[in-house]
Symmetry: D2
Subunit: 275 residues, 4 copies
């Protein structure tokens, strides 16, 4: 059973928290703790034996922790996610495979595409696909339609799996720390469009991919995971893009695993990841 | 201030330990904890604020922990090491540089070589070099001479920085979990002599290096750190050896940093590394 | 257009080969050449402009190269493969996805499983699945049945995508340099069964996966590609196996890409890979 | 013996070049060739048997290659370099060690520092150290003094091994494709000053280092090599800087090895690296 805690730091927090577990006679299997001293912020993830009285543990922890502490005992044991896509199949296919074999860590409720390209692959896995085209629409109307579709589900996370539309602040603010995006560059290098073209033009020797939570600032949200692969002069921009798809897939999978496994904390636009 | 603890596991250990820190009003900056459930073993490393009364903290911890617990508050703040070498310069030079600029994490007391090759580089750094030749001697006599030299120092660690002699069980038993070796392969592949030749013959696409504590079983001690680099058909066995020297240097440096920073625990021939 | 050549080495081969291309007025885009001096063996891969008269080029090359030279102009532009599996889905699913979106570099003709577990995922992609059970059969009969199924296709490659049966020499000899296997360890460490268990017991800090051509010697065939990921004390054997699946998938995909792109040469149980 | 060639591309170049080697009866051991089709540029590196008549080979190649071809047969077999430093020891020390043991690929003629900090380590290796302070001087005067020192040597390369002054276009133009710099970030992320602080503030999960040739545009020259290491929330900005020093050292060493081994070509602000 996982418990995650984030709160203002003070002396004695670990003792207080561990004391609650000890009092309930729950053995702690592993504990990760981090204090961001500059921001006086305390983060903890506890893996303990299974325990049936989660509510009681939650209450007991609330009593020993500072006001405003974020405490989640056994957070969302069955997570649900909606995947947003455009035309590229690689990230979505990987998610669909893991979802199908129940190793994703969340259940895919539906896939929303602004193009119909990926409808067929979703159908092969009996995952609902909703086409919400952006064409001939203002962003406001497009996002209203997205929201209508999203609202038909009670969802926990939105995953932008190569969704090539920029979302408004208004939209994003509805899902704080609940939208995960895969960006096709080693951020903060090559923000914005066409990162592989820019990487090719610059002659870099490594290309990367970045999974991050989406915030109002484009490509500026808290980074969850990054990976790189080597490239050289023999790669065209198209070849870099092809090679990049492999790590886009891998790094999004890794980030989702971390998020769905309650290993990622966010504070002040940065993540604490207990991997 | 670092505190490391290893003991039999039981419910309430984290609370007990953290309670001691809280009672002394010491803020915990970071805590890493691991339970090896199969072996019922508890490992913890605590980084806390500086605290002058280490002895008092040590006593307080002893009172709350099981009998036989290994507790080290502020362990060996000024570590000392003796380096054993043969002819290859790369690992030793890296250690000498870090020692010279005081970033090694330990003080090099002397270098012992069974060949005179590396005397000159030691002298350039004003580090004593002792020649203890193995030629025309039984291993017993050779090791007796090594011990005589080692005993003139009160040392904490022996570092085998490409020391190409096999040490006896009797010798090794005198320094339990205190001898660090760099092995020129990705153990357990290519144990024994000539690993680069074997790697070349096998046509591997990655070569590696392994830093480990030395135990009686040759190349079988607990692994501290490992790294690899890619190779291909264009590498000769000699080219692999040359490339391997780069990671031998890097992985030994990394392992020493971990050991000297009290991040490595050993139990049942395996390490717990809180990096 | 790709041309691959392997033959005994001698002075003037590059000039002779390039001379043929120049005479036909074909521009060479990139050329990789390697001489294995110890074995007096010459390897070359040429990427040139498209050229319609492949037969003429092949003849012209044969005339300037030593007897016994292996020359393939535009080798198998449409490769075909049969995938053999047991129960694990990760490698097969990745291959099915790439096959479906036509980025595998070969066409999957059918999947043969010795368990029915993966039939369903094949059907979702309209790829034929053949169950060939090994139960209550001698290996001889099992392999005869495998061959009967394989022979209904004209296939170029067999891919063992976590096929957990050992094949006989007689079987393997029928497909020289045409069977690709993914082995779940960083060969030659942990040959044989249960490599993750062995890796866990040894306490390694990296685990790996190896794609290789299958030869008579179990796990001893020429290595095509290898990759590793870091692990630590927090991984159980099961956790290592789970993490390992990610690189098994990645390294088999990489190896198939290299093989299907005619970048892999084999000689004396080693590969030359022009990646 | 190495031969490097760069020229405008046309059909038949490989045949023409290889023909020259064949006519002189020189066996080619390995050949790397790349055509930058977009820029119609041809690059080749040939490793051949030793050959005493380099001048004759050079002339013969000139006759078959287009006007303006850059041809170097056995280029600078004994390269010489001057190292420029400020206060940080890690890159310089690594270079001094390799220079001392003759594995650098070039001879260090002298070290120029704008601070005296690193004089002592140079003296330990009997490498001349020249203090050229920038204090209380215009950049023009500072660079004039640098040039005076540099001119007392006939040097091939300048290596900026953590030299923390920005050089003028006038200075740089005197050493085209002859100044190698190590930049403490994964360019083009975090150009300019304090990259580790910026990386920390951005919360990246990988930090990098970049070795590049210096051109007029700050941090914009052709990239030779890049490497990264993972970091996480537990790293302070200072910790990132410390970790970064390890890869700065490694990536500069790698880049120098490539440059001194004549494996790096430059065209249009990008490199072709035949590694």
């Amino acid at each position: 059973m996982v418990t995650v805690i984030q709160c203002a730091d003070k002396v004695g927090l670990v003792a207080a928290i561990a004391g609650v577990f000890a009092k309930e006679n729950i053995n702690i299997i592993s504990m990760r703790e981090h204090v961001d001293a500059a921001n006086n912020r305390f983060f903890m993830r506890v893996v303990a034996e299974e325990y049936t009285k989660a509510d009681m543990l939650q209450s007991a922890l609330e009593q020993v922790l500072p006001p405003g502490a974020e405490i989640k005992v056994n957070p969302l044991p069955e997570k649900k996610a909606i995947i947003l896509v455009t035309k590229e199949y690689h990230c979505l296919s990987d998610i669909l495979i893991r979802n199908h074999f129940k190793t994703l860590g969340a259940k895919v409720q539906c896939v929303i595409g602004n193009h119909p390209t990926l409808q067929n692959i979703c159908e092969r896995f009996n995952v609902p696909f909703q086409l919400v085209s952006h064409e001939n629409k203002s962003r406001e109307i497009f996002e209203t339609e997205l929201l209508q579709t999203i609202r038909t589900f009670e969802t926990d996370y939105l995953v932008l799996a190569k969704f090539m539309r920029i979302l408004s602040s208004e939209f994003i603010d509805r899902f704080p720390v609940r939208i995960v995006n895969i960006h096709h560059s080693f951020l903060p290098a090559f923000v914005g469009a066409n990162p592989y073209r820019k990487a090719f033009d610059r002659g870099v020797k490594l290309i990367g991919a970045t999974a991050h939570f989406v915030t109002n600032e484009l490509d500026e949200g808290p980074i969850i995971a990054q990976q790189i692969i080597p490239v050289d002069h023999s790669f065209t921009a198209a070849g870099m893009m092809k090679a990049g798809k492999e790590i886009e897939t891998a790094v999004l999978a890794k980030a989702l695993q971390l998020v769905f496994d309650d290993r990622v904390f966010v504070h002040n636009n940065k993540t604490v990841v207990f991997d």
